[in-house]
Symmetry: C2
């Protein structure tokens, strides 16, 4: 929040440098990785308004070194986005969801139990929120990615399960989309409770996720049954 804190007057000293910490030399790749990890943890806590000076202190390095590996704060932040939203997407997810050798409900549980791991991740939850609030385009893109790569296949599979025409015949309806968003919102909120508002979260997260998935499965069934009936008897 950058509130001015009344502090000791500006140091008028000449050159009373600190006890000169021992230098540690790392390979550029290692140092770069270390900075990136530290930055993720730091900005997750303080938001992107956190100061690079403090970050350097936390990392135990000089501010100059920070700028050797990341030309600017914005560059560093972009790398963080990439790390959080692009690299953390597991390619196998796409396959799990449409693997019809496994019953759909089991697939959904398997997928969401894995996907929901992100909710336990302080950094992921908070950075996702901060980036969205900052209007970072990548956060919006991630939200859209979820629609394309998760909602769409799942609704497709649910329709197949419950005997409705595929998405190629009939685009996703609003109630279908909203069913998925409600699930994701309910799940993401677990992370928000845990890492933002710090109110009590379920002891049994896996159970909660499982129940949530079972609910939308049942809700989808009901939604689609109704749709199936409507489809059989053309409207007046």
């Amino acid at each position: 929040m950058a509130i001015t804190k009344k502090k000791a007057p500006r140091r008028t000293a000449k050159k009373q440098s600190a006890p000169a910490r021992k230098r540690v030399r790392l390979a550029p790749t290692d140092r770069s990785d270390q900075i990136l990890k530290g930055a993720i943890s730091f900005f997750a806590k303080h938001g992107f308004g956190g100061q690079t000076r403090e970050l350097a202190v936390e990392l135990g390095i000089s501010k100059g070194l920070l700028y050797r590996y990341f030309p600017s704060k914005d560059d560093l932040i972009d790398r963080i986005y990439d790390e959080m939203f692009v690299r953390r997407w597991k390619p196998e997810w796409d396959a799990i969801l449409v693997d019809r050798s496994v019953p759909l409900l089991a697939r959904l549980k398997r997928f969401y139990l894995d996907y929901a791991q992100m909710l336990h991740d302080y950094e992921w939850v908070r950075i996702y929120l901060y980036s969205g609030l900052d209007g970072a385009s990548i956060a919006q893109r991630f939200a859209k990615l979820v629609t394309e790569r998760i909602y769409k296949p799942i609704i497709g599979e649910l329709r197949h399960e419950f005997g409705l025409p595929g998405l190629d015949k009939q685009p996703m309806t609003e109630p279908e989309t909203e069913l998925m968003w409600a699930l994701h919102g309910g799940l993401f909120y677990i992370g928000i409770r845990k890492w933002v508002y710090r109110v009590n979260t379920p002891r049994d997260v896996a159970g909660t996720v499982t129940r949530a998935v079972e609910r939308i499965y049942a809700d989808a069934q009901e939604l689609m049954r109704a749709d199936q009936i409507r489809r059989r008897s053309p409207s007046p």
Copy 2:
């Protein structure tokens, strides 16, 4: 994010003051209200890291005037919290939920259709998030308030509806609490989609809210039926 922007060099001019805007004198109450409202809108957009200078410009007043009514930025922010989280709680909500002259499902719909109005409020959604991320204690208190004043009465009424012992006999169970959180999370996520990630939101919010309420009503029924059966046949 306070990134350094390369700008024109520091003005070395003497006193080339601007065209001297016409002064408008307001009653202290009016001015204070005006500043508060403007600040809410401003900080909702930029986060609490936004500068008071810019806020003053947006309000069309001098920065000095800001500090006449709010001694510090932190004071201003505290007033915003009060305005958003304390004053916006409608006392009638408590009554609606337990008014047994109305069928429970109808009560729930009525309440949530009103409560969910906050989701359409750019300021409320974003400030609630920013304050939580900042670790403001009031945000945590609000989350707890929701548990006490919404979840508890609703679970109490649902138990009554489905023939289970009241909360005085048996505290809220985790699945019950989670059911409520899932509902609120799902609803709040509508606001997050709209005001944070800017992805498409339902055309028919009222319908979405109604459906979400119907779902938890049905889910609660199922949850509590199962509980009722377990209760009748004591465990081994």
